[in-house]
């Protein structure tokens, strides 16, 4: 009986393998050769050096390809490829082009394969790529510090002021936090899709964002429920909630750091400077958000430092990654995780708000709460003007 059960399970599997084998061996029967050669060459990074450009490329197409010509700004140019001009599937290569580039000018680099497939890489405003040395490392770290830790800590400084509020007002500040977070969630998701679109299509950047976001959301919820059951507590501890927020915001700030670091390394220093200013202003409000759940307790200074660090320090990390090892696919993954973490915090706070108002027999969408939520959204909307172009 048991053996029979296994066999009935195996039969479809065996047939499936047979069918796949047949198709692999004989083709789909429609067409044997593609109409045009399918070659996919990806330019992963263009490093600008004193003598020219250094491109990291990879072959993500189904067949090997050969790089045969290189053009810079509509001029055929000398180049060298290592390890060799022919790249196997998923093989990576480096292209060196000695070119007298002009500071601040746009440069377009075309790679042409043997079959005439053209891959284009562009530098919007060319400038030396920062070298990975200690002083640069420190400088970028400082930027991250200013964008992440400083404003969030400044936001947390409103805590004593907010502490005087009554329960209803505290709830409206929590609603305001939901507004802030909703804005951050949409923004983070959109940034993730934007960066993901730059990744080689074989990796499906958009799906990476979705996978990152949904798995993070579910994992965090699951982890929470597990902990709650274990400790048999009702609701969240305020500090635990603040910690949760700080984590979500931290991942979001990693994305901000990524944007700043990569804009500098792509030669858009003016944009980078605007981003620094914009994100800094923007992030003060994140500090308010993190402080909000703590209003019901008496936190210590140490707790604030910890929260500020968790929410702000990832910006430093992001700036480094963006400047020195930027890769669209990792950017997409991190931003997806950030979005997932943020939506989880929104879920938790909203649930808490509803529960709290229910126990006091009040409507949860009160005028005060609605105003708080709206103000939260609007604050984010207007401070985001500094970082959108």
């Amino acid at each position: 009986m048991k053996g029979k059960g296994i066999i009935t399970g195996l039969i479809p599997l065996i047939i499936l393998i047979g069918v796949l084998g047949f198709v692999l061996k004989n083709g789909a029967g429609v067409e044997k050769d593609p109409a045009a050669p399918i070659e996919v060459l990806n330019i992963e990074r263009i490093k600008v050096t004193n003598t020219g450009f250094e491109l990291s490329v990879s072959n993500t197409g189904p067949t090997p390809l050969t790089i045969s010509q290189v053009m810079v700004n509509d001029s055929v140019w000398n180049y060298s490829v290592s390890p060799q001009a022919t790249l196997e599937r998923f093989e990576e290569g480096k292209i060196n082009i000695a070119y007298p580039w002009v500071e601040g000018d746009p440069h377009t680099i075309k790679l042409i394969t043997e079959n005439g497939i053209i891959t284009e890489g562009a530098l919007a405003a060319t400038t030396l790529t920062p070298e990975t040395n200690r002083s640069n490392f420190l400088n970028y770290g400082l930027i991250g510090f200013y964008v992440g830790i400083v404003p969030i800590t400044l936001g947390l400084l409103w805590y004593p002021f907010m502490k005087r509020f009554s329960r209803k007002w505290i709830n409206s500040i929590l609603a305001l936090t939901v507004g802030l977070l909703l804005f951050l969630f949409v923004g983070t998701l959109a940034d993730g899709f934007e960066i993901g679109a730059e990744a080689p299509s074989v990796f499906q950047g958009n799906m990476i964002v979705i996978i990152g976001a949904s798995l993070t959301f579910l994992l965090l919820i699951g982890f929470d429920q597990y902990q709650q059951r274990k400790q048999e507590k009702k609701g969240y501890s305020p500090f635990g909630m603040a910690l949760l927020m700080a984590t979500g915001i931290g991942l979001h700030n990693f994305g901000e750091g990524l944007a700043i670091g990569s804009s500098f390394s792509l030669g858009e220093a003016a944009l980078g400077t605007f981003l620094i200013i914009g994100f800094t202003l923007h992030n003060i409000t994140e500090g308010i958000g993190i402080a909000a759940p703590l209003l019901k307790t008496t936190p210590r200074l140490k707790d604030f430092l910890l929260l500020g660090g968790i929410a702000g320090a990832p910006a430093i990390l992001g700036t480094w990654v963006g400047a020195f090892i930027f890769s669209p696919i990792w950017g997409a993954l991190f931003l997806g995780i950030g979005a997932g973490a943020i939506i989880q915090v929104i879920y938790v706070i909203t649930k808490m708000l509803i529960d709290d108002h229910r126990t006091h027999r009040e409507p949860s969408v009160s005028w005060l709460n609605l105003s708080g939520f709206t103000i939260g959204l609007l604050i984010m909307y207007f401070t985001a003007f500094f970082v959108k172009f």
């Binding site: 004193n50 045969s68 055929v76 601040g104 200013i277 800094t280």
Partner: protein, 338 residues
């Protein structure tokens, strides 16, 4: 000046938008940072440090298949199979086959071309004014094609009728007027059929022969690899930088005659510029047309003419399209005068 403006405008914007905190922050960043908004240019230093010298960006001394084709077309003229008709007229018969063929148009770059007799441009047909010409055309390609000759002939021989794959057709007409003609496919869509490579030069010599000279055939053309309506490579005789890496050898004071035509698609004009010398240009290859003594001429699509030149000094003379973009994308070469 413009750069100064840009910077100050940006600075003002920054101050206006960011407020005191932002200003303090920027000030600090600028002071310590390695990322200046106005940066030191790479120009000076990189020119000194980089190892490449002027006009050496496409060095390739190997004799590739593509180069050999361009070199062969430079001096090869197809006079056809010659017989005498009963009335004493010379009959020339040519075999022309349309073939789909991959052509190397720059080192390592394959172009899926449509060709006459397997080359881009096609063979240079040559005859004398008054000869009876028979072009036996066989279409072995994958699309309908034709041959449209420039010159004076009965309209039914004009190549407007498509000859389908596997079919044959014989174009028959008397060679006139003398000069440099061209021929190309005239099947719709026209731009695609011509750009794919179906064109060439067609020389009708005058009855009174021209002065003996070292004769060269040059067809200016371009290749659009990604079918976006703009060419990636510009060449003479179909191969980028062919005569730059292998200069055309010429003797001092020798008369050089170049049959030059423009069959570039997607660009309105192409041009020919000679360095350190002047030439006489005969539009359409006619001695009775007003000629020019110059170092630069331009031709629109389908235009052609004869260049006659002597080199008084030994040395290397560059020639190229005077549209710098075309030159840097392959239409550039050298004469080496000994």
């Amino acid at each position: 000046m413009s750069e100064e403006n840009k910077v100050s405008r940006r600075d003002i914007l920054k101050m206006g938008t960011a407020g005191a905190f932002g200003v303090a922050g920027t000030y600090y960043f600028n002071k310590m940072a390695q990322f200046p908004t106005v940066a030191k240019a790479a120009n000076g230093s990189s020119h000194k440090t980089s190892h490449h010298s002027n006009h050496s960006n496409m060095i390739d001394k190997t004799k590739t298949t593509g180069y050999k084709m361009a070199e062969r077309l430079l001096t090869e003229f197809d006079y056809g199979k010659v017989t005498k008709l009963p009335n004493g007229q010379t009959l020339r018969e040519y075999e022309v086959v349309a073939i789909d063929k991959e052509i190397e148009i720059a080192k390592g770059i394959k172009f899926p071309g449509w060709t006459y007799n397997g080359t881009i441009p096609g063979p240079t047909f040559r005859c004398t004014e008054g000869d009876l010409l028979r072009f036996h055309f066989i279409n072995k390609g994958s699309h309908p094609h034709s041959i449209h000759f420039h010159g004076i002939h009965p309209p039914e021989m004009d190549g407007l009728t498509s000859i389908f794959p596997g079919q044959k057709f014989t174009y028959e007409f008397e060679a006139k007027p003398y000069g440099l003609q061209i021929y190309h496919c005239h099947v719709l869509p026209l731009a695609r059929h011509i750009h794919k490579g179906l064109y060439g030069n067609f020389i009708i010599d005058p009855k009174k022969p021209r002065e003996p000279a070292f004769e060269l055939n040059m067809v200016m053309n371009g290749f659009d690899l990604d079918l976006d309506g703009a060419n990636e490579f510009y060449t003479v005789n179909g191969y980028a930088f062919a005569f730059m890496n292998h200069p055309i050898k010429i003797k001092k004071d020798q008369l050089v005659r170049i049959y030059l035509s423009n069959l570039t698609e997607f660009d309105l004009l192409n041009s020919f510029h000679l360095h350190a010398n002047y030439f006489t240009y005969y539009p359409t290859g006619r001695n009775d047309n007003p000629s020019q003594f110059t170092d630069t001429i331009m031709q629109c699509q389908g235009e052609r003419g004869i260049i006659e030149v002597r080199f008084p000094y030994a040395g290397t003379y560059m020639f190229h399209a005077h549209v710098s973009e075309f030159a840097e994308l392959g239409w550039m070469g050298f004469f080496e005068v000994e």
